[in-house]
């Protein structure tokens, strides 16, 4: 509607990032997916201890999960599109309180664009973030509990202040 203010519900922009690497699309795709556990920031995962691996099952419908040293697995999401070495899409099903939520379906799309000089631009778009807003009621309910929204906000504060 034309009377709707500019700051509307649907106006949550995706987080878009890109990086150009000295590698072919094939190598970049492989390093991004199969090698994810080697570069993923160790402080950003669900499990309590360090993770041993981050696994993306390489097919549509495959699971995306972390595996702890003791073998315990924590789901992160699943594969929505798998088109090596050009593109893949993951469902990021980690909620604002940093827990797996099968009903949450934000999307991470990663594309690999080759250049003539052999480099590849990797572009990542994390979208449908309004779905975090759709969980606002649950987030409100969890406010005040240690595992709730203040938990992730505290983690965020620690993160930006670090």
């Amino acid at each position: 509607m034309s009377t709707t203010p500019a700051a509307n519900v649907s106006g949550i922009k995706p987080v878009v990032k890109s990086v150009t690497v000295k590698a072919s699309p094939e190598r970049a795709f492989e390093a991004f997916t199969a090698g994810m556990g080697r570069w993923w920031p160790a402080s950003h995962h669900i499990g309590a201890g360090a993770f041993e691996a981050v696994v993306i099952e390489p097919r549509v419908g495959g699971r995306w999960y972390e595996r702890a040293a003791d073998g315990a697995e924590c789901n992160w999401g699943k594969v929505l599109a798998w088109e090596p070495p050009k593109r893949f899409v993951l469902a990021w099903q980690i909620s604002a309180d940093w827990a797996y939520d099968p009903d949450l379906m934000t999307e991470v799309e990663v594309t690999f664009e080759p250049h003539a000089d052999g480099k590849t631009t990797v572009t990542l778009a994390h979208g449908r973030l309004e779905l975090f807003g759709a969980r606002a009621k649950e987030m409100a309910d969890s406010v005040g509990s240690d595992g709730g929204w203040p938990g992730i906000l505290r983690a965020f504060v620690d993160f930006v202040d670090a």
Partner: protein
Amino acid sequence: MTNASRALAALGDATRREIFDRLAEAPSSVGALAAALPVSRPAVSQHLRVLKEAGLVAETPDGARRIYRIDPRGIGAMRDWLDQHWDRALAAFKDFVEETEEPEA
């Protein structure tokens, strides 16, 4: 203060949490909130101002009154967090893929 710590501080008050909780269920006017809570209208207005400054609620005019609702950008802290997370992650990815590059010739 960061947006996130502002949000934390705003939700540190029980009445503001109650107001936030009610707005999560349904958008509401100051009058309706005051009628449902054991606090005065001016007090509700003051709490809403704090929540608004923290980015947790937004208001839209509806004739003479204003309707308050949860601001979907209240998840802005989450978005900011993801923004920084992916910055850090992609930098680490670049280091990894370039360190492990195989010689091509």
